[in-house]
Amino acid sequence: MRKVLKRTTALGLCAALAFSLAGCAAGTNNSSVAGSAAASTVGSAAGSAAGTGKTTITLGMHVANVDAQEPVTGQIVKAFEKANPDITVEVQGNDKDEHVKKMKLAAQSNELPDIFWMDSSVAPQLNEAGKLLDLSEFLKQNPDINAGLSDNMKVASQAGGKQYGLPYQALVTGIWYNKDLFKKAGIDAPKNGTTYDELMSMVKALNAKGITPIAQGAKDTYSVWAFLIGLERYGYFNKIDNILAGKEKFNNPDFVKYFEKMSALGRAKAFPSNCATSTYFQAKEQFNASKAAMFDSGVWDAGALDKTIGTNIGFWWGPTFSDSSAKQTVSMDASSAPLCVSKAVGDNEAKKNAVYKFLAFYYGKDAAKISYEGSIIPATNYKIDVNLDSKPAFKAVVDALQDRSWVSPKAQPDLVLSEAVQAQLYDSMYGTMLGTYTPKEALDKLDKVQQQQ
């Protein structure tokens, strides 16, 4: 036995040596394509493979498996490569939290990918630290694209005169509903213009039939999209600049009124009984299985809903409030998180051209068509003809967007806040909905965190 142990140890040491030498080589190699997901090294400085005339650009995504989880983007990349055989796009991704962590680290060691998705509250920080390329030049060189992007879309990623990013997609959020379940409960389905009081009676009627009114999952704290729209119906963007400057507070009469409404909804059991331990994904499954009448989410779920709910699907912008003096016809069609370009790209002419070409394609008409066909609303607003017959859910969203009397604010309320305040906003909203905080407590917490910024 001892001999065996000795030999094993010796073997092990030799193996280790051999491995580490091999590992050394592997570690410093830039990329080795092997099997599944395309491999890449983040921020490969040596982007252009010498002598082949091919340029490689890196795209850092916020999902690990792009083809399964962001299929539209995957298709756009492939279509771009097909149209530009001299450019290769190396896609690399991690799930969102890991991705943001990695990008923060990569920024420190100047190893950012050429193009990457970034969280809306982190992108401005990267910009302030001088890590992002100003895309104003790109927009100037591409006037069609400049025109194809609405002001809302551009303003969202502007600071200090710099265009530090461009929207990844359009962020269109609201409340999905299941027409069939409303019929079962013997009440009318909601529509744009339904008031809060009408919503409350719907909640009562649905509960009476054992149908969960609104599917929500508090474990994913950010999943309060429809309720974020509600903030604007109480004048969010009229106030927020002052609040962020310290001249006004989150705890103001309008917001108190709004939070009281959310609290009332919670008490009326509008949300699932296990909302506190549910994830957003679970809430979606509930809605998919026709156990919940409404579902707080956005256009990104249209593809799945087409298959599970089909023609019974409906979409609306959420309830209006009679005790608010602000405009009630608020929709949500603003910039999602941005795509940013690393500053280093500007120093490499070949890379910059390749990146500009990619962006021009991404924000062009072909990519827009791919998006619509994939039930995603692109950031651009070209008129594209797509057959929506087989996509009732997506069609419901598109129809809602086409009613121009409903106007979107320039951004989703949470995306103009710093990371910590944003996190507190989610906590305060869910806390109010679950009854953990009173409306005033919830808003005071927000003020406290804002003061610490």
Partner: protein, 289 residues
């Protein structure tokens, strides 16, 4: 041993460990503590803010909630594990058939990544879709309690899950210790006519002192580090009610981008864990021969 203990040998054998440890454990800790005195988002430069983070910490309601939860988890898990794992190791030490299989099976929870442990137990403890409450409902005994996601039970549930996960792991350490008790000592006590209970109390346990304090140290430091289980089950919620020191520190650092404050929380956690370990060591000091 004396003439082999040349200074040169000692140094050669200690240096590699000390080097790697200092560079990759102690230096990072120092850096982390350093950050706790700054305001830093993870990008750009850290701004020195002195004791501000610590002052904020002691006034932070969520900190106290997470401290309370961490202590509950620690206390419950400590009792369950110290006794439970020892009992199981005694059981496994008997010459029973299927011993090996049982050993492997009981050890198996330790094999799963903590994040998966969290996911599995969601499907057991969730008040609505979990196994336990589904069975309770089936038996017509009502809705069943809020094992997780409620106001009070979460830390106890976490302790239990940690106990489940660590039971086999710690029993294995106890077992290795049991197997290293010289056979003649056990035989001698048998010949002297000692009952099983006497054997246990007067022979086995004293000879296991070293192992017992090893396990205790592991449990103490381990409970303070519980992270993925809480993250998966409740993510510290709802609204921070089930937050532990580590989950709060983590979310502050990575979700809120408040790296400096997060490190202050981590430093305090590390200090508390150290103090408790120190107290335990002092209490058992006389036993070190």
């Amino acid at each position: 041993m004396h003439w082999l203990s040349k200074k040169r040998n000692i140094v050669i054998m200690l240096i590699p460990t000390l080097l790697v440890y200092t560079i990759y454990m102690i230096a990072p800790i120092a850096i982390a503590v350093g950050y706790s005195f700054t305001k830093y988002t993870g990008i750009g430069n850290a701004k020195f803010t002195g004791y501000k983070n610590y002052i904020r910490l002691f006034q932070d309601e969520i900190f106290w909630v997470s401290l309370k939860n961490t202590f509950i988890i620690f206390a419950v898990a400590f009792v369950l594990l110290m006794i439970g794992a020892f009992a199981v190791s005694l059981l496994l030490n008997q010459k029973l058939k299927y011993n090996g299989t049982a050993k492997a099976l009981i050890f198996s929870p330790a094999v799963i990544a903590p994040i998966i442990v969290g996911i599995i137990w969601i499907f057991i403890l969730d008040p609505k879709i979990g196994l336990i409450n589904s069975v309770i409902q089936m038996l017509g005994l009502g809705q069943g309690p809020d094992w997780i996601g409620g106001k009070t039970l979460t830390p106890y549930s976490i302790s239990f899950i940690y106990f489940w996960q660590q039971l086999g792991y710690l029993a294995t350490i106890y077992l290795a210790g049991l197997k290293m008790i010289p056979g003649d000592v056990m035989e001698a006590s048998q010949i002297d006519g000692a009952s099983s209970w006497q054997k246990l109390w007067y022979v086995t346990i004293p000879m296991m002192k070293s192992t017992i304090s090893t396990v205790a140290l592991l449990v103490i430091t381990g409970t303070f580090k519980i992270f993925e289980i809480v993250q998966q089950l409740t993510n510290g919620g709802p609204n921070h009610m089930s937050e532990t020191l580590i989950t709060y520190s983590y979310s502050t650092t990575f979700s809120n981008g408040e790296y400096g404050y997060g490190m202050a929380l981590a430093t305090v956690t590390f200090a508390i864990s150290l103090i408790i370990t120190g107290i335990y060591s002092l209490l058992t000091k006389e036993k070190q021969a």
